[in-house]
């Protein structure tokens, strides 16, 4: 059974904290993605990675960075959390080309 696992289901952090969201997949996929989901805005792509140590900015990368040191793990980093980063964060992985993506269960982050 294929799996994408996000480290936390719910997270509460304080403004200014450095926040790490972790995502692990067990399907040996090259491509991994981080999205945030907000009401009325759908899913917006923050960053994606097409190989170990390789990354590309998505549509809303400001305030975020990513790390992919191993193929199975893709981390999203909020350098200095702000209240406008309160959101649902979704990680996904897929093989290259036209294939389906597999999603984690999501992390609901609240920044207070």
């Amino acid at each position: 059974d294929v799996k994408v696992t996000q480290s936390s289901r719910y997270l509460v952090k304080r403004t200014g904290e450095k926040v790490f969201l972790e995502c692990v997949q067990d399907m040996d996929h090259e491509n991994m993605f981080w999205y945030r989901q907000d009401p009325g805005l759908g899913l917006r792509l923050i960053y994606f990675s097409y190989d170990v140590k390789m990354k590309e900015k998505g549509d809303i990368p400001e305030g975020y960075s990513v790390s992919r040191e191993k193929k199975e793990r893709f981390s999203l980093i909020l350098e200095s959390a702000s209240t406008n980063q309160t959101s649902m964060y979704l990680c996904a992985s897929k093989s290259p080309g036209g294939t389906e993506a597999f999603f984690g269960q999501g992390t609901r982050l609240t920044v207070v």
Binding site: G40, G42, L45, F48, S49, Y50, D59
Partner: protein, 113 residues
Amino acid sequence: SQQGEEDPQALSIQEGENATMNCSYKTSINNLQWYRQNSGRGLVHLILIRSNEREKHSGRLRVTLDTSKKSSSLLITASRAADTASYFCATGANTGTASKLTFGTGTRLQVTL
């Protein structure tokens, strides 16, 4: 910028009726996919249609793709209460280094008994 825009934003129907959702996108694509999301959970893949295909079926799902109009539709026939969820279209395109997947804003479907 958002690639896909779904229409309508919300849809309420009775069990047994058909549900149709539409998706429009802006640039060239390799494929278009539809996903389903139950409340507060991750997304689950439903169906993929390639840019050289016009129609595809899977069970009670029917997807059409019109690349000249840059639009797609998802039809769910004989809907059930368990179909209540949000539905998203996603377009796949090669960026040169990766296959990027861009989602739309979604349609919330409510199926009542």
